[in-house]
Amino acid sequence: MSASAVHSLWTTAATAAEPISKIDAPKIEYAQLSPTLIVIGAAVVGVLVEAFVPRKSRYYTQVFVAVVALAAAFSAVVALAASGYGTTKAHIAAMGAIAVDGPALFLQGTILLAGILGVFTFAERRLDPEAHGNRVDAFAAQASSVPGSDSEKAAVKAGFTTTEVFPLLLFAISGMLVFPSANDLLTLFVALEVFSLPLYLLCAVARRKRLMSQEAAVKYFLLGAFASAFTLFGIALLYGYAGSMSYATIAHVVDGTVTNVDPALAGTMGNDVLLLMGMALVVMGLLFKVGAVPFHMWTPDVYQGAPTPVTGFMAAATKVAAFGALLRLLYVVLPGMRWDWRPVMWAVAIVTMLGGAIVAITQTDIKRLLAYSSIAHAGFILAGVIATSPDGVSSVLFYLGAYSFVTIGAFAVVTLVRDAGGEATHLSKWAGLGRRSPLVAAVFAVFLLAFAGIPLTSGFAGKFAVFRAAAEGGAGALVVVGVISSAIAAFFYIRVIVLMFFSEPKPEGPTVAVPSPLTMTAIAAGVVVTLVLGVAPQYFLNLANQAGVFVR
């Protein structure tokens, strides 16, 4: 091997130096991205805390960091919205990667609030009995130890706790913040993975029923990876179609208003088969995340297996983020294609509403029941998405906001009802709960009524908004199916209420643990938001209305 060859491989020949054209530094609007940056920063700090802070004080430090970061990020969102980034100053930031507009800010705000409540439920340490004098939370003492092994026992004895869940949560939230505001397909995909991977992990670290938890995590991971692969394939096809990852450019190509064509791509560009397949596959990836039929199969297993605080957070925030991304994709990138995607989405919405509602009827586990309920709700929200009107956007935004609080609250209540084996999630154990703990049962009844969409709860206002938008958008038949599914769904919600209030309590029934103010706050916030949005929804509907315009 000659010296010159080596030279040419490893160094730049001085003579061959062409003048390197100056690379422009990307222009990043840090202030406008601050919510996401704060959360990512806090997550990194959380990792450092794990490394450097003594074990005893990690829990408090982590909770503190997480809450402060989320609150700061929320204030940043509010500040951005207040200074008009949601309406008049909405624009595309970060060299076209991130949109800062009404829907993005609204959903980010919702995710951050859900995140704060999520941290509260994660941090709850009074429900499980103390292990060797240490207060413990819902997470395994040491996630890496094999369930039932000596090392696990040692970890429990030593009072270990998995405080890593807080940075993991923050990473997930940061991905979720980017997801609905992503303005090119690559950012979308990265955000998808950033929020999915921590969630896979979080599913695996339940303190009780670890095997089930791990099984759930594996399933979630496998199926999530499978879905991601489809999404990625779709992204590739769309790139092939448009020659760009950017939403705006793709939209231009779809509309036929593109100005300059890259000659290298001229062969494939504008090929509608690529567009249609790409669209279908990317949409499929998002439908997987929202849990729409037939991509919903992971939902019940994962919801049941994951630690309940994780389930609550995941059910709320993932749905918000994924629907935000779906809305942006369909409204910004593919509005010109709506005659192609609407019929397909119609079908998906119908089978999702009916499937979720029907299968929920025969569930016997409260967490699985809520999982199927979340599938049905995904169908309802899809009905609003299909409206393809400003009303459709704002109704979906409102629904997501209302739904996330109900969901977190409901799962938080589930963590309270316990027996010797941990949470008593089998429905038969909930019989007569209303006699034993009227307050908890009443609160849960409020959440169930909200799920069922009974007037004076946020569920009614939200459902009414999406169905009205769908009906005005010409999807009357969809609304009929939606109402029928709501009727079916009402059956199993009310059945739980009847079970709680009108059945005799079992002698060996579960007890209701008294939580710390953390969980209480989460539940109270859920109740308050549910009732306020139900009784006086107009202010929030207006807010969603103002926020309902995408920047392009």
Partner: protein, 637 residues
Amino acid sequence: MENLIALLIAAPLLGAAVLLCGGRRLDAVGQWIGTVLAAASFVIAAVLFADMLGKSPEDRTFTQHLFSWIAVGDFRADVGFQLDQLSMTFVLLITGVGSLIHVYSIGYMEHDERRRRFFGYLNLFLAAMLLLVLADNYLLLYVGWEGVGLASYLLIGFWQHKPSAATAAKKAFLVNRVGDMGLSIAIMLMFTTFGTFAFGPLLGTEGHSGIAGDAGEGKLTAIALMLLLAACGKSAQVPLQSWLGDAMEGPTPVSALIHAATMVTAGVYLIVRSAAVFNAAPDAQLVVTVVGGVTLLFGAIVGCAKDDIKKALAGSTMSQIGYMVLAAGLGPIGYVFAIMHLVTHGFFKAGLFLGAGSVMHGMNDEVDMRKFGGLRKYMPVTFVTFGLGYLAIIGFPGLSGFFSKDKIIEAAFAKGGTEGWILGGVALLGAAITAYYMTRVMIMTFFGEKRWQPDAEGHEPHPHESPSSMTIPMIVLAFGSVFAGAFFSIGDRFVHWLEPVTGHSEGDSPVSALTVTAATMVLLVVGAGIAYLQYGRSSVPVTAPRGSLLTRAARRDLYQDDFNHVVLVRGGEHLTRSLVYVDHTLVDGVVNGTAASVGGLSGRLRKLQNGYARSYAVSMFGGAAILVAATLLMRAV
């Protein structure tokens, strides 16, 4: 001046609010507050009346718009008042008779502990009744309509410790609900047909006619019949008449004011006010006359058999309102006379009831006429005023009833054709029966030997004249009974007064007025004579004889309650039972069947969820394939 209209209602409303919310500390002065405010309302009415008289007949409609009550899209309901000659007539009657009865009640209710509440209810009634006749649209009228219903309910059941009173109040309320339903349906029909229910555009104001006549006759007939149903409920016309007799459980001033002079005539007001609708619906008008004619005889026959003085008078009220409804059904030839009879009836029937109250007051609240007798010596003032009322109601020449009832009989003949003959004949027959039952009441109460006995506790009644607070109103009303008819009729004063609002046309009677008057006189003498022979010449047994079939039927109100029980109560029970059966078998069958099949489907779908990640992945793959295929297919189609 027009701003005073609201004050008319505000005064008694204030009274009701103060008295009902004021608590015990007002117990001592409650009756004075109530009476003064009622009188204040009358004074305002008089001022407005004077002002109205000063204007030419064309400008006598006063309106006052207060505020927009409900405005949703095209639907608009205002709170506004319309005071024209028709409302003015009612306002004067209501506030005038109302004030007198307030005064009377001071004496009558003197020993009642809940007197303050009683006056509060009376004031509430006045306010609601004034709202009813002053409203400038049907929706607001409906508010007043329900308001008087409420006041009536509260006052019938005022002595709620008596189960019979509580039951009677409930009965009145329920029967009235049927009529109220008619009014609400009529209002809804008007709104869907015309897009409004305001009097102005609907019924027309002076100078231009309203749009009420523009709709198809079928719709107008439906509206008119619903209005008639409402009128039947409030005015105790067949078939909704059954509550009025029981309503006599209320204190007698209430019977006089609400169940004789004012509220029960609200149905007549409604029909006359809606003249534009009825004029365009001749079929409905025919039904109105039939209802009026039937009730006229019905009430009169019931009145003949009752031994309870108030119930006899209640039958009479029903019958006299039957006259008014009959006249109102005749159209423009009858409207004015319906209202005229309404006013004169307000005087003499209120007077009669107050007289009856006075008798009861002196007789330890005894109402059975068989235990009265010979009271003229003990209660001279009552006897004279009651007697004048009696002469007025039977149509003694020169007294009020003579003028007003005669006009109705003439108008009935003037309807023309066979209908005219039948209606006229019914009205004449009614006049004869009226003379009979009123003479019977008169003789049994004031003439013959005294028949009263000690009551169960051995108290011998000591009949005595009532205090002046009670007799003065009776005297004033007696004046009205005597002179009102002549005053209205001489020179056709009343016709000219009301004509701009209701319209008036002289009918073409096949029988001359003189003939009608003569026939009436003959029948009057015959009716009164039979009564005299039965009750004046021979003694009246203290316990009622068994009586003829008709008497027994009439005592039971011609089996109206039995009819209601068999047809409505039993029928309702059967209907409910069969509906429950259908619900259990058919509806529940379908529901349970659906639920079972959904449940079955759920169970089967559930099996798809088998826990294997591989089959989930297959499902996702299949889904993705279908999604892609469907998207491509959509484009291909």
